[in-house]
């Protein structure tokens, strides 16, 4: 699939695809010469994609993870979940559109799905607050996780957020408390809990729904304690050093697998998930299905114990 939005490092790809478009525009498909030229150019696009995507730098991955065309939570829901039935509200303040959840069926099995939605297009992004949740979002997540646990329904979360919303109202309604309770709830529930980091795993706002039994991560997603921009402005006092911060923070899926913070990397189609969302979705779906199958063997108590031990062991000398 061609993409309409190109990242700065995708310039050679953009040029080739521009040429292909032009050629197609100029003639009908009957012209053999042009058709073979198009095929030749398409092969070149593939090569160029390989050259770029086989060795993305951390900063480039950051950009891919934030790509406007990258599939978002609601795309994964429509691709992977049947009979999705959204459940709204925290029963205290409101309904947060940055953190969405509901019941549905994943390959036949009832599941509770919860995820950050960044929104698409300007209006969509504003409506979903760019995927930055308020306290009522995390409180809804807690309500839904507890509901799932009562009925022995596995929990699937999808992480894609720049972070929790930093704002006056969020603070006044107890943003920290809401996140803390959500992490506590993740750790407690006695049902299988699979986390997929599909875009940006931004700090505490991501962590709030990411303390699961297994954490899967798309190949070009990122997961970090702070955004590279935030880190650069604090440590270098210059947000323009974000590129250096991205390197230093070790936020790529490949790095995180090494630290055992995530359990599995899910391969993306060539050129990133946004170039072929269908393939990205089916790969992630397969990985989730396999992970759920493994967790099926554990009793409810063992599920909670496995989660606890996994996090306790994390980063301990000798465990790494």
């Amino acid at each position: 699939m061609e993409s309409n939005t190109f990242l700065d490092f995708e310039k050679p790809i953009a040029e080739l695809e521009g040429k292909i478009k032009e050629l197609r525009h100029l003639t009908d498909d009957s012209d053999d010469n042009i058709a073979s030229e198009v095929t030749r150019l398409e092969a070149k696009v593939d090569t160029a994609l390989h050259q770029v995507y086989d060795k993305l730098t951390p900063w480039q991955k950051m950009q891919v993870a934030r790509h406007p065309d990258r599939p978002h939570f609601l795309d994964y829901v429509s691709g992977l979940i049947d009979e999705f039935t959204p459940l709204h509200g925290d029963r205290a303040f409101g309904d947060d559109k940055a953190l969405i959840g509901g019941l549905g069926r994943f390959r036949g099995t009832p599941v509770m799905v919860i995820g950050h939605e960044k929104g698409t297009g300007t209006a969509g992004r504003v409506e979903h607050n760019f995927g930055m949740a308020h306290p009522e979002g995390y409180r809804k997540a807690v309500r839904l996780m507890e509901l799932a646990a009562r009925f022995n329904v596995p929990i699937l979360t999808f992480v894609d957020t720049p972070g929790a919303h930093p704002g006056v109202e969020a603070e006044e309604r107890g943003q920290s408390e809401a996140i803390a309770r959500s992490i506590e709830c993740c750790l407690k529930v006695k049902v299988p809990f699979v986390v997929s980091i599909v875009g940006e795993g931004g700090s505490g706002g991501a962590m709030a729904i990411a303390a699961g039994n297994k954490v899967l991560m798309l190949e070009h997603s990122v997961y970090s304690v702070i955004s590279p921009e935030g880190c650069a402005s604090i440590l270098w006092r210059d947000a323009a050093r974000a590129r250096d911060a991205a390197e230093a923070l070790k936020l790529t899926a490949q790095d995180l697998l090494g630290y055992k913070v995530i359990d599995r990397i899910v391969e993306e189609p060539l050129g990133g998930a946004h170039r072929d969302p269908e393939i990205a979705m089916s790969s992630l779906g397969d990985a989730i299905a396999e992970t759920l199958k493994d967790l099926n063997d554990l009793t409810p108590q063992q599920l909670a114990a496995q989660r606890r031990d996994k996090f306790l062991d994390m980063g301990r000398p000798g465990v790494q």
Binding site: G167, V168, E171, E177, S203, S224, K250
Partner: protein, 317 residues
């Protein structure tokens, strides 16, 4: 059990401590700029006698102010991976660590001690803002887990005095993982039926607030303490307007229903002892903890190898 035998008498500590010869006999209050003589400051628990501003203090002072007769024993904390990311900004992380160690005489930001308060067994974990902004990395997480285990073992209350800018960026994702890890520490104390009390001190923000900082059975703050998730500068940058007066201060949070109480330093010890009295009896939990479940047995002991934890236990389906 090293932490039990590693007894450090506060009096002996005081003899060798640097605090005997202050570099500066006068301290300027950050709030009212009044100069305060060091002896007056010490007597007044490091609270400005003029404006009641609560100055930031470290673990030694907390222990001395809170434990019965100031007597306590320090817990030996486990070694952690140092510099797992080989992090370097304008300075190497290992050098920043070294500087902080030299300056504070502590190994990392959280110090744990146990003793009694009003006769009740208490474990205190105190976060030191002077050590790299109190930031929470592997060492702080491990300190909190150790403190929780110690509290469970001694049937003690766990009290955490928080003070931190947040997670320690230089440890990257592993510092973020201290949010769930410290939450597990809190859970261990909860499951044992023991009180977990948080005292939020100036400043407590970021991942620290959004994990163990906000999970106390009872949440207390010192007057005027800055407490929040996002720092005020980040919020100002986002909304591009001035923040309301007193925003994110302890009293503001109390008004918004986020804290149980704001307690002056001079009343902290008696308040905590009163709470222990309500929640504990004779150093025992007031309510007997639930019968141990397979999950809670792994809490108290060292982590069992996966095979053991996976083994089916009685009472499960």
């Amino acid at each position: 059990m090293n932490w039990l035998t590693n007894f450090v008498r506060p009096k002996i500590r005081a003899l060798v401590s640097k605090r005997d010869i202050p570099d500066n006999l006068w301290t300027k209050c950050r709030a009212c700029t009044q100069m305060i003589f060091h002896r007056d400051l010490e007597e007044n628990l490091h609270v400005c006698p003029n404006c009641d501003h609560h100055l930031r203090i470290g673990p030694d002072q907390r222990f001395a102010q809170l434990f019965d007769n100031g007597e306590h024993s320090l817990s030996e904390l486990p070694e952690v991976l140092s510099d797992p990311l080989k992090f370097r900004d304008s300075k190497r992380y290992v050098d920043r660590l070294k500087d902080s160690r030299n300056r504070t005489g502590e190994n990392d930001a959280v110090v744990v001690a146990h003793g009694t308060m009003g006769g009740h067994n208490v474990v205190l974990a105190v976060q030191n803002f002077a050590f790299m902004g109190g930031s929470m990395g592997l060492a702080a997480g491990e300190a909190l887990i150790t403190a929780a285990r110690l509290a469970v073992m001694q049937e003690a209350a766990l009290v955490v005095f928080s003070a931190a800018g947040g997670a320690r960026m230089q440890e990257g994702i592993l510092s973020l993982m201290q949010m769930p890890r410290s939450t597990i520490a809190v859970e261990m104390v909860r499951e044992a039926g023991l009180p977990y009390i948080v005292v939020l001190t100036d400043p407590t923000t970021g991942g620290v607030t959004a994990s163990y900082g906000m999970l106390g059975d009872i949440s207390i703050a010192e007057p005027g303490a800055l407490i929040g998730f996002a720092g005020p500068r980040v919020i100002e940058d986002t909304i591009r307007e001035q923040l309301p007066e007193g925003f994110q201060r302890a009293e503001y949070l109390l008004d918004h229903g986020i804290l149980d109480m704001v307690v002056k330093r001079s009343e902290m010890r008696e308040t905590l002892i009163r709470l222990f009295g309500f929640l504990m009896s004779d150093g025992k939990p007031a309510i007997a903890p639930p019968a141990p479940t397979p999950t809670s047995t792994t809490d108290v002991a060292q982590i069992a190898p996966p095979d053991e934890t996976d083994a089916p236990s009685p009472g499960q389906d």
